[in-house]
Subunit: 341 residues, 2 copies
């Protein structure tokens, strides 16, 4: 581990300058401060300084996810995280992040500068600049729904295999056999996992896997328009959606096409956001316990800070049955189909 | 949630008898006590009583795993668990378990009778009687290396995908291309995961997947005898083993067959038990951080007791390179093979 003197020697500046840079003194230039921080991080200084801090302080960096009101996905996650942090007298700072902040400063330097012992990153995608830095970070970091192979970085999320399986089993129990999946955006760990889970579950219940009944949307209601009519043409009597917002779009589109939910087509959401209870009909969905995700993320971050390298922590989802799912229409059931053909 | 009166009514006995049964009083018969406990559990009384307990007490039930000295797999897991429990002022009782104890009493009744808030189960297999009861338990329970679909039951272990990938990548970097896997016993989650991880990794590094280079053993050195000569006949220049004990058997068997480690054949273990450093040559292995497993198991149990339903928690393994792996012998490398043929 380098000393302050090592950093000073490398930069060819005085020890006092390095010390000022690391401690946020105001009488050196911002450029010099940044240079000191970046060099300290490069030389592996970060972890040492953070360990020395007395009272702990961690941050939640959030991008591309709404969290300001209770009906938004990030809200309860942050509540859960803060609840657990408060019990351990750990200060939490929530920092909205954007590409600008990310490109201004390296992740490790940012953490060192502000004295954060660890970070919880919400809403980032694998293309983000910060994420690409995480494979080398020494800062304990927890990622929601993303995996980076680094001992200091953990992945927290909901067990998608069990979630999708609960949805498919529920629909299979209602005699549906042409079940569609309107998944989230491509190139995401969660999307890939749910895709795999869906084909596995369909196989498990001896249901036909039809590529015409699987599509990738994105996490807004509008994406339903592109896919619902195709699903109907391919015989779908049930649609599993990757989020409640997508499901709300699917229900609206089905209504526009003159289909009743659940009499003609059953719809299942994912997340159990407050909107699920307010849709007409109310939405059957796979609940992600977001307060529990937040609490677990803090527990995981605490372990990572303590040197216990948790790689992955998954929460158990729950099927919440409401009014948007019902029995497969009799004329669409396999036996009826056979008789007609 | 039933009251003591409900239980008394169901059994047709006095409320005082139920109370005595639940509180371990000595002036009722053991049979009556057991009946009261079983009925209470059946009626869903367990969770309530456990929540009411002041000072918490949890147990580690251990079967079919050695843990009494530091060179055994279970030892450090229990140390880690106890360390974290002590920090939270939680009492831990370690209970060696066997089929006899399991068949004497239902798991939930056992937990209720002794006032345990939760349990950590080590070494059990899916065939064990207790495990079959766990799909319905209301007692927060953590299982090592086993998954049961119940919201109150969590799975803790090491990320086998990353572990096997670290081993295969290390061997691929050393130009090995005929790599064998001597896996653990069949019908185990961990064995299946490692098998899948192995074929995925071999594919990832464009190495040939040969069924003649994969076998299931069991977790003792002796199992090597049945498989090493077959691997050699099929051209193996490296063998990945599911445990350090299996690896020690593989090294002994290679020596018996006149092969040098690592000059002729490289060997990789799994676990990093103390024996790995004492073998000749010292063993390259995939380290499972057992203290961290124990600490994480306690953290998970604490969350489960608090109502946060963690389904799965995986720790990051680490490749520890020692002397049992080396470059693939030049005459066995693909180019040389091509020239000879």
């Amino acid at each position: 581990m380098p000393t302050i003197r090592d950093i000073a020697n490398k930069l060819g500046v005085a020890v006092s300058t390095v010390s000022k840079g690391l401690n946020g003194a105001s009488d050196i230039s911002e450029d010099m401060r940044q240079l000191v921080l970046d060099t300290a991080v490069e030389m592996g200084y970060a972890a040492k300084r953070i360990q020395k801090l007395g009272k702990r302080k961690v941050c939640i960096l959030i991008e591309n996810m709404e969290y300001e009101s209770i009906d938004q996905f990030g809200y309860e996650i942050i509540v859960g995280f803060k609840l657990s942090a408060a019990r351990r007298h750990c200060e939490v700072k929530v920092i909205p992040c954007n590409l600008n902040l990310q490109s201004q400063e390296r992740f490790d330097s940012f953490m060192l500068k502000h004295g954060y012992s660890g970070a919880f990153l919400l809403g980032f995608t694998l293309h983000d600049d910060y994420i690409s830095q995480l494979s080398k970070t020494t800062v304990p970091t927890v990622l929601l729904d993303n995996y980076i192979p680094n001992r200091r970085v953990g992945y927290v999320g909901t067990d998608g295999f069990t979630g999708i399986d609960l949805a498919v089993r529920h629909l299979a129990d209602l005699s549906h056999h042409k079940i569609a999946l309107l998944n989230g955006s491509k190139n995401s760990l969660v999307t890939e996992e749910r895709q795999l889970a869906f084909t596995q579950s369909m196989g498990k219940y001896s249901l036909e896997i039809n590529p015409g009944l699987m599509a990738n949307g994105y996490y807004v209601p509008e994406c339903a328009k592109d896919h619902v009519s195709v699903f109907l043409q391919n015989g779908a009597t049930a649609i599993v959606c990757a989020s409640d917002l997508i499901a709300s779009g699917v229900i609206a589109e089905l209504r526009r096409l003159g289909k009743r939910v659940p009499e003609d087509v059953s719809v299942v959401g994912f997340d159990d956001l407050p909107v699920a209870q307010h849709l007409i009909p109310t939405l059957t969905t796979i609940r992600q316990d977001r307060v529990a995700i937040g609490k677990s993320a803090f527990a995981m971050l605490e372990e990572l800070i303590g040197g216990v390298n948790i790689s992955k922590l998954l929460l158990m989802p729950e099927l919440v049955v409401r009014d948007s799912t019902g029995p497969c229409p009799p004329e669409k059931q396999p036996l009826a189909n056979l008789e007609r053909s």
